[in-house]
Amino acid sequence: MPRDREPLSVGRVIGDVLDPFTRSISLRVNYNSREVNNGCELKPSHVVSQPRVDIGGDDLRTFYTLVMVDPDAPSPSNPNLREYLHWLVTDIPATTGASFGQEVVCYESPRPTAGIHRFVFVLFRQLGRQTVYAPGWRQNFKTRDFAELYNLGSPVAAVYFNCQRESGSGGRRR
């Protein structure tokens, strides 16, 4: 498919958070049987608890890292906390799910106050089992730098959804 029709590009996830990559592992994220499709919208009340994450691959000895970030914190028109780290799980064996991995940074419920935020899940393949240290704080996390620091290479999968205030009616106020 031509690059410019790829939802991750059009939604600027590739650009703001990631560099272009080739998908190679399946990544399915489900919040209470609501599956996350790129660009779909979920309410904060739907995403309070951590989702079920199922990954593909074939070799149980291969391990993956899952990162969940909000690149639009605190608001999309002024994202000076980009990216806000919501969840970090490592050592997920292929063909299993996030619940089989090591939760390095626990899941924090999305609670956007201003604007419509994107919440991005990124999956990386690890070279082997590795120790990953939690960053000192959640804001201003850089997925690109994190991947470089731990030699994770390019992402193998990514998916994102949109989320705004529970009672929001969309978009920028001022």
Partner: protein, 274 residues
């Protein structure tokens, strides 16, 4: 204060006096003057450096304070810090001169050594390190002007509208303002409420708003398009799968063995003799 400049050859090396005279020397020259240090300038503690300079009597205002953590560092380390800061500050127009060529003044300012309120030009320089734009104090600037005082003093300009979306921690100084000239007397952000300014600000605000609006609209379009593409792709895949499954189902039916026989009917083949 006599004519100050880069040339100190005619002065008695033993008696460097005068405010700012030592400041304008490059660190190389300072090292020469302070020959009694006994070790290369790089490994000198900031504490020692200041003491030596003090001894030479170069400070006119001895009340400089040195924060405790700074004083322990060697010149070498502080220089490295400065270089790191420079690299981070992508907008900086300062030349990346090697340590020896930087003036003592620049070095001290950048090290954050200079903390006291007076002399004024030092304070302004120190404040340059924090990305604030204090209003420039013009008179002292010109009175104490030392030729070697090359501190690039930023003149605050109205932020270009496009940058309004981002916090002030980004340095958005236009290049011309950075290598501050001593004769710069225009300061547009002086607190003057002239009618021209007010109108200008309104226009500025309108522009900022328009740009923000545009960005928001672009994000909105991107959102919509991304979702539409995603759904189209999903639909395509689902249709394919559907087709495949249907074909598979039909394929299963034809070569299939005829439906299993109804359960075999019992037939009498012989009667048992009772």
């Amino acid at each position: 204060m006599g004519s100050q400049g880069g040339s100190f050859e005619e002065e008695n090396p033993e008696s460097l006096i005068g405010q700012g005279s030592l400041f304008s020397l490059t660190l190389d020259e300072v090292q020469d003057q302070l020959g009694n240090l006994g070790k290369p300038l790089g490994s000198v503690n900031l504490d020692e450096l200041l003491k030596s300079v003090d001894n030479v009597g170069a400070w006119s205002s001895p009340g400089l304070t040195l924060s405790s953590d700074l004083s322990k560092k060697t010149v070498e380390e502080v220089w490295r810090n400065i270089q790191q800061k420079k690299r981070r500050d992508a907008d900086s127009q300062e030349r990346n001169a090697p340590l020896g060529e930087m003036t003592l003044e620049d070095f001290l300012v950048k090290a954050g050594v200079v903390t006291e309120a007076a002399p004024p030009q030092q304070q302004e320089s120190a404040q340059w390190m924090q990305f604030q734009h204090p209003s420039v104090q013009k008179p002292p600037y010109q009175n104490n002007m030392v030729a070697g005082f090359m501190q690039g003093h930023p003149v605050q300009q109205p932020l270009p509208a496009a940058d309004a979306a981002y916090p002030d921690s980004q340095m958005n100084l236009s290049p011309s303002s950075l290598m501050g000239t001593s004769s710069d007397t225009q300061n547009p952000t002086r607190k003057r409420v002239a009618p021209g300014d007010v109108a200008e600000k309104t226009v500025e605000r309108k522009q900022k708003r328009m740009i923000k609006n545009r960005e928001s609209a672009a994000r909105s379009r991107a959102r919509r398009q991304a979702y539409t593409h995603e759904l189209e792709i999903k639909v395509y895949h689902l249709e394919e799968e559907n087709e495949r499954l249907r074909r598979q189902k039909e394929a299963e039916v034809l070569p299939c063995a005829p439906p299993p026989e109804p359960k075999s009917q019992l037939r009498r083949t012989s009667s048992t003799p009772f």
